[in-house]
């Protein structure tokens, strides 16, 4: 029940208008809708989705790492001059985002994983990761943190409001003005979708037809980020109008320049998928089985954080009263441990399938070693999403309901520490567990690699925590980012090496 003092406080603190949530929701629906449509009606394979994710997130990680080191010194040196910062941002996007998109496409085409008629799906998938996942996800979380923090009242809410009213006053505009702002935000994401589609499309075709011209047409679209520092120089409608015009031009150029190719090789575009493993269904089955196999671990991984949340809520109140650290601030640091534990089911399925001879049949029927590994990793990612999703939603709601402060720091920790480290550690655990169990003598139960692998997955989380403690307040996110990127790269490398070098007989049962 709110006291009169709180009511007086609320009179001065405004909350952000919920209409701002509309922006990320629309973008997510748009991006996901495009993916769904292309998958159903045209062609968008799991490989296109996965490979584009690899290309995109590695590029974003590389950009973040580069900017972490160079942005502040450069900005200081040039005094924020947009003509200097423009090329800085633009060239990063050209070489890192577009460049990596091409390299991944080229590798995939050379290994017959992607074909010409995957070009559209690859471009749509790149757009999904940028707009539907990274930008919209980030925005949604940011708005949620602002909204809940400002709703909670108190000192933290006041501090948050003071900071936001200075940095982003438009968040407190009247609904009509806010809606206009949301509209331009959505327009910007639509432009980004078109541009990512264009360069993804051109990169695949450049790789398939070994046509350097397509790559040279794709690369310059990364220079759209050149315009980022010029935003304040234009009114919002004009700025977004320019971006949108360029986006339309990118699609027009991409389609027009390849039309001759698509006409000449039209059978490549309309060629039916060869009779082979339905990977989308296999991955779905792998996830369902992992969930069933590892249901005890899923429950442990989901319930333990919730119990921890209750403890946090109770102890946090007491600690805050005694001037101690708020446990809610360290909750995001502990969560990945439970998530890794909760995602063990996929690895258990791997061990069982090998022992039952399932892999022998799959290899005989044309499934590759890499696809066997990938289905386990995909199932692991699915379990992480489930466990993490439930844990985060319930715990954040519980903490907010308990009246504990949910600061921006906690939000940043969840976004840049908990989520990436959870996914990366679980994927790392899966891959290590699979490779290790293939290479060692088969032992049953908890002494097996499958039984010990969760400890392997938890170890990087704990190591990151220890390193983060010693790196200072600002360093924790870089430690988490670096550790996550390193683990994902290790997973990709291990899968590649295993596909090339691992003896197939290791997939046979001992029975």
């Amino acid at each position: 029940m709110r006291t009169s003092a709180c009511r007086a406080e609320l009179a001065t603190i405004q909350n952000i208008d919920p209409v701002f949530f509309l922006g990320p929701v629309v973008v997510v629906l748009l991006s996901a809708g495009l993916v769904f449509y292309w998958n159903r009606r045209r062609r968008l394979t799991v490989w296109a989705l996965f490979l584009s994710a690899v290309a995109y997130f590695v590029a974003i990680g590389a950009k973040a790492a580069f900017q972490a080191v160079t942005y502040v010194p450069l900005d200081t040196a040039v005094g924020g001059n947009p003509w200097a910062l423009g090329p800085y941002f633009g060239l990063q996007t050209v070489f890192l985002e577009v460049g990596l998109a091409y390299l991944v496409a080229r590798y995939s085409v050379s290994h017959s994983i992607l074909r010409a008629n995957d070009a559209e799906g690859y471009g749509i998938s790149l757009a999904l990761w940028e707009n539907g996942v990274f930008v919209a996800g980030l925005a949604a979380l940011e708005y949620a943190i602002y909204f809940f923090t400002l709703s909670g009242g108190g000192t933290v809410a006041q501090q948050e409001y003071t900071a936001l009213i200075k940095a982003a006053p438009s968040l407190f505009d009247k609904p009509t003005a806010a809606l206009q702002l949301v509209g331009y935000q959505v327009l910007e994401r639509v432009s980004s979708t078109l541009i990512h589609f264009s360069w993804g499309y051109l990169c695949v075709l450049a790789a398939v037809f070994k046509n350097r011209r397509y790559l040279l047409l794709a690369l310059p679209w990364g220079l759209v980020d050149f315009l980022a520092p010029f935003g304040p120089s234009f009114s919002l409608p004009v700025f977004e109008g320019i971006i949108f015009t360029l986006a339309l031009a990118s699609v027009a150029v991409a389609l027009a320049s390849t039309r001759g190719e698509t006409r000449a090789k039209s059978t490549d575009f309309s060629a039916p998928q060869p009779d082979g493993a339905n990977l989308r269904l296999l991955f779905a089955v792998a996830f369902r089985r992992a969930l069933n196999f590892g249901k005890v671990y899923v429950v442990i991984g989901t319930v333990l954080p919730l119990l921890f949340t209750v403890e946090v809520a109770e102890a946090g109140k007491a600690a805050a009263g005694a001037g101690g650290p708020a446990l809610v601030d360290i909750y995001p640091l502990i969560l990945p441990v439970f998530v890794v534990l909760g995602s063990t089911g996929a690895l258990m399925v791997f061990g069982s399938d090998r022992d039952k001879g399932v892999f022998e049949y799959m290899l005989a029927y044309g499934v590759d070693v890499s696809q066997i590994f990938l289905s386990t990793v995909v199932a692991t990612v699915g379990l992480v999403t489930l466990v993490l999703g439930v844990a985060l939603v319930v715990s954040v709601a519980s903490i907010a309901a308990a009246g504990l402060p949910l600061s921006v720091t906690v939000g940043e920790l969840i976004l840049f520490y908990t989520i990436p480290l959870s996914y990366a550690s679980a994927m790392f655990m899966s891959m290590i567990g699979m490779i290790w169990s293939q290479l060692t003598a088969r032992r049953p139960g908890v002494n097996s690699p499958v039984g010990i692998a969760p400890i392997v997955g938890i170890a990087p989380v704990l190591a990151a925590l220890i390193l983060a403690e010693s790196s200072g307040p600002g360093g924790i996110l870089y430690v988490a980012g670096g550790a996550s990127a390193a683990m994902v790269c290790a997973v990709v490398l291990m899968a590649w090496v295993a596909n090339k070098k691992m003896q197939r007989e290791r997939f046979l049962s001992n029975a």
């Binding site: 082979g276 493993a277 039952k356 001879g357 022998e360 044309g366 590759d368 046979l508």
Partner: protein, 284 residues
């Protein structure tokens, strides 16, 4: 240009973890039919089938399926394969297991329904695989090969540990398949081999002992054992071995004549059985 043979094996060596199990194997399968892969335990039968299926990479030589190297996905997609393991993922029901493999092979629900009907699996479809008897499990395992039409079928002891009734059903299905497909059928049951196969691929000590038609394999004698209900002087023509009196004939076609002769002499016969199989000669 003549079409590529369904199976071409040229000077192939193969094995596990660098250790050769097969060496210098060469043969070509160019006609449909059942090719029985015979050999004692450890001869390399399973290794041969795994190499043909593309599961094992040969250390040397060439293996092609319809002209495509066996390691390539296109070759593996033309093969159907059964091993001695059931290979149904744990926890699955029968229809889920078949659906799983239909997905692996790029098939659909209609293939699963058709195969359930073909192998009379309706009553078993909703049961967990672990609830089935050995014979039922094998029937489900064999059902897998009928999900999608392939050009080459590699069956590794598909009737092992089965009762004679179920084994017979499976052999009949295989014979139907072999009318226009190539079926390699591994067995160490020499009687079964003669019943089902038209050609033999005999493996011994990792080498190819024989590749040819079964009916061309001849031995000097064909021995049958007669177990009588009671002793009779007419049995004196044979030599006694245990409960049986052994008679050496020229060929199996002489057996009815022997039985007729013995019964007309007053011998009451409990059992007649083959005491020597010409295929055994391959392994001496």
């Amino acid at each position: 240009m003549a079409p590529a043979p369904p199976i071409l094996v040229q000077d192939v060596a193969s094995g596990y973890y660098g250790k050769k199990v097969l060496d210098g194997i060469s043969f070509e399968v160019s006609e449909p039919g059942v090719y029985v892969v015979l050999g004692p335990n450890g001869a390399g039968k399973t290794t041969l089938l795994r190499t043909l299926a593309g599961i094992l990479r040969p250390y040397s030589g060439r293996v092609e399926i319809n002209g495509i190297p066996s390691q390539e996905k296109e070759a593996r997609m033309q093969i159907d394969y059964i091993t001695h393991l059931d290979g149904i993922p744990e926890g699955m029901k029968v229809e889920d297991g078949l659906r799983f493999y239909a997905d692996v092979e790029g098939g659909g629900e209609e293939d699963v329904r058709r195969v359930i009907k073909l192998l009379d699996l309706e009553e078993l479809a909703k049961l967990r695989f672990t609830q089935l008897s050995q014979g039922q499990k094998k029937r489900v395992s064999v059902a897998r090969i009928f999900l999608r039409e392939k050009s080459v079928y590699l069956l590794d002891e598909p009737t092992s540990n089965l009762d004679p009734k179920v084994a017979k059903e499976i052999r009949e299905l295989v014979l139907q398949l072999s009318k226009d497909k190539v079926v390699l059928y591994s067995s160490h049951n020499l009687f079964e081999a003669r019943e089902i196969g038209s050609r033999v691929i005999a493996v011994k000590g990792g080498k190819l002992a024989l590749f040819g038609r079964i009916d061309e394999i001849r031995t000097e004698t064909y021995t049958v054992g007669v177990r009588p209900l009671e002793l009779s002087p007419a049995l004196g023509q044979g030599r006694k071995e245990g409960d049986y009196y052994l008679f050496d004939l020229r060929s199996p076609e002489d057996v009815p004549g022997l039985i007729a002769s013995l019964t007309s002499s007053g011998v009451r016969i409990r059992e007649v059985r083959e005491m020597q199989n010409p295929l055994e000669e391959l392994f001496k």
